[in-house]
């Protein structure tokens, strides 16, 4: 890994050196239009003055960020205190997304490991089975979850008919329901990268460890996990990041009682608030947060690579 990263890939000669810029042009155009331009637009809007009932006035203002970080009371004229409202909303979303990621990892890792250790000919079937539910629209799957989980739903009916419980377990409109929904929404994003990593893993290393009297636990911790770490990290990022901005599961399964980052931002554009600069500012804070998390991961990864190399 370290050697490959240093030499910039395995190709020894650069066949397309002369045409490189031209060949990269389509990618740059796509990235420019669909990634760079919207982010720049958002950045600019977050520093503009809000127009009543949506829209912006082209006048520089820090009001959006001020609203995010400082509390000036119900009427906006008290001395500024730290505003905890939005920090709490961000913290709640982070916590929910984190719980969903851990849940996905706990279920996703053994699943991926199981698939990767089957006969080579049946592995595609297992992968196929994992992906089938995801051919259905996310909204429909989330609503189905709601049907399953509700107090008078099939899950509670079943548990009560078996005599395991006397009264329904209340799951719907709780934080746990949201985590369950997020976990279900993004599970394949955890399974597939880990599967790819485990599949590449050379199992004779596990045998060698066993020959050297390593217990199964030690083998897993010291040999298997370090080898498939990039897959695990990729899976965690792929589950965590979309969970952070999600609003379907919180709205439908959590009852929309508390704003999540996604619904807070949506409210600024589609709700009564109509405060576009504030919505843009909250998006910028979210974007910065995600970038920082990704950078920490990348840092640690390169440190680990250096330590190994």
């Amino acid at each position: 890994m370290a050697a490959g990263a240093a030499s910039g890939g395995s190709a020894t000669t650069d066949t397309y050196a002369s045409a490189r810029n031209l060949l990269l042009l389509p990618s740059w155009v796509i990235l420019g239009i669909f990634v760079l331009a919207p982010v720049i637009m958002m950045l600019i809007y977050s520093f503009l003055t809000k127009e009543f009932r949506g829209g912006v006035i082209w006048q520089f203002s820090l009001a959006a960020y001020d609203q995010f970080f400082f509390d000036r009371g119900l009427f906006g004229d008290e001395p500024a205190k730290i505003e905890w409202t939005y920090i709490n909303i961000f913290w709640r979303s982070t916590w929910q997304a984190g719980a969903a990621t851990i849940l996905s990892l706990l279920i996703g890792f053994p699943t991926a490991y199981f698939i990767a250790t089957r006969e080579e000919s049946v592995r595609p079937i297992w992968v196929f089975l994992i992906t089938i539910p995801y051919w259905v629209n996310l909204l429909i799957r989330t609503v189905s979850m709601k049907f399953l989980l509700r107090d008078e739903g099939p899950l509670n009916d079943f548990l009560m008919s078996t005599g395991l419980i006397d009264s329904p377990i209340h799951i719907i409109n709780t934080n746990f329901a949201v985590q369950l929904g997020l976990f279900y929404s993004y599970l394949p994003f955890m399974v597939l990268p880990i599967y790819a990593a485990v599949e590449r893993y050379n199992f004779s290393m596990s045998e060698a460890a066993a020959d050297l009297y390593a217990s199964k636990w030690v083998t897993l911790r010291r040999i298997v996990l370090p080898a498939i770490k990039p897959g695990v990290i990729a899976g965690c990022i792929l589950v965590f990041v979309p969970s952070l901005g999600s609003f379907l599961a919180p709205d439908l399964l959590g009852g929309a009682k508390n704003f999540m980052i996604g619904s807070l931002i949506e409210e600024q554009f589609k709700g009564n608030a109509g405060n576009w600069p504030f919505g843009a500012a909250a998006s910028m804070v979210l974007l910065s947060m995600v970038l920082i998390i990704l950078m920490i991961f990348a840092r640690q990864q390169s440190k680990a690579d250096k330590a190994e190399g």
Partner: protein
């Protein structure tokens, strides 16, 4: 830069809006979802030869945001609620219907011919009207239901079994009625009281759902649900213990209206469409579908018989007055937004 952004936003909106060229024989409608029977549109096309394209939205505010982001000039007509008509007029988004342009303007029922939200019906015609209050599962609660305390200070057996509409305007209006204070009050003590009351009430609420307001009641997730009258009628058809309340403190009345948008690409066809919807038979077809009331004289003759006696459409004796949602000024709206954030933080 400014123009570039505006142009790109407009271009984007144009791409999203289906095929909105100003060609003859077309009409582009911006409408709520599931609010217009398909047969009625077919009838319009059969009568006039005008092809109708329809995009949908799910809240007044979402519609306003989309038009503000550059979709104005794409659509001919939209269907905003009462308060949104005044907001759009204030934003200069509406075109004026000239005298004599609408052949059927006389069909508008007298009580809806000169509403406060659009004096003289300068830019709009009635579409449907109804009320917003709440329904109670009488199997779970046998006490008096015509009281806003059911929502804001509920008896113990209903606490935690309440769904609210995820809509700031309607919740604030009902909350003001509950406290007996004017809407959009600028009195600081009253606003503080409103804030405090909602903070307490929130502890009793299970969820905020608008789209599934009917479904959460029918399924038994909750026993009380803030809901529109037509939606409540449909819910009762599926679960007969549900009863729609007309609180003594009052309830919210709303009217959706077809408005002529500024820069409508097919203005003439829009007028024809409005005339078409002022025919009693046609607007009655919408009511029969949506279970709300038309605002057109003579439509009653074409309504399903059971609509006339619908419990959800006929206030019980002793009920308070129905009030429209008021449009707050910028300063008060900022406080309302803050209160709403406090409710949902």
């Amino acid at each position: 830069m400014k123009n570039l952004l505006k142009t790109s936003a407009a271009a984007l909106a144009l791409t999203v809006a289906a095929n909105a060229a100003a060609a003859e024989g077309k009409l582009v409608v911006y409408h709520w979802f599931e609010y217009m029977p398909a047969e009625l549109l077919e009838k319009f096309t059969a009568e006039t030869g005008i092809e109708v394209t329809m995009d949908t939205y799910d809240s007044n505010e979402a519609m306003l945001a989309s038009l503000k982001a550059g979709a104005l000039g794409t659509y001919d007509v939209a269907v905003p609620g009462d308060y949104m008509v005044s907001i759009m007029a204030g934003e200069g988004m509406l075109d004026t219907i000239g005298d004599g342009e609408l052949a059927n303007k006389g069909n508008i029922a007298p009580e809806w011919a000169d509403p406060a939200f659009d004096p003289g019906r300068a830019s709009s015609i009635p579409y449907q009207w109804g009320s917003t209050s709440f329904a109670v599962n009488t199997a779970a609660y046998s006490g008096e239901i015509n009281d806003t305390s059911i929502l804001f200070d509920p008896p113990a057996e209903l606490s935690g079994k309440i769904n609210m509409l995820d809509s700031q305007g309607e919740v604030m209006a009902l909350a003001s009625l509950h406290l007996g204070i004017p809407q959009c009050s600028t009195d600081r003590d009253l606003l503080k009281g409103l804030n405090a009351m909602l903070q307490d009430a929130k502890g009793h609420w299970a969820s905020f759902n608008s789209d599934t307001a009917k479904e959460v009641m029918v399924s038994g997730d909750v026993d009380v649900g803030m809901i529109y009258d037509g939606f409540a009628a449909k819910a009762r058809a599926e679960k007969e213990t549900l009863k729609y309340a007309f609180p003594a403190q009052g309830y919210v009345v709303w009217m959706d209206n077809v408005v002529l948008l500024k820069d409508a690409p097919n203005r003439e066809n829009a007028i024809k469409f409005m005339d078409f919807l002022l025919e009693p038979e046609n607007i009655a077809a919408v009511s029969n579908y949506a279970r709300y009331a038309p605002g057109v004289t003579g439509a009653a003759d074409h309504l399903d018989p059971e609509l006339a006696t619908l419990p959800e459409a006929n206030p019980t004796p002793g009920s308070g007055a129905g009030v429209f949602i008021e449009v707050c000024d910028e300063q008060t709206q900022a406080v309302y937004d803050q209160i709403w954030t406090n409710v949902k933080k």
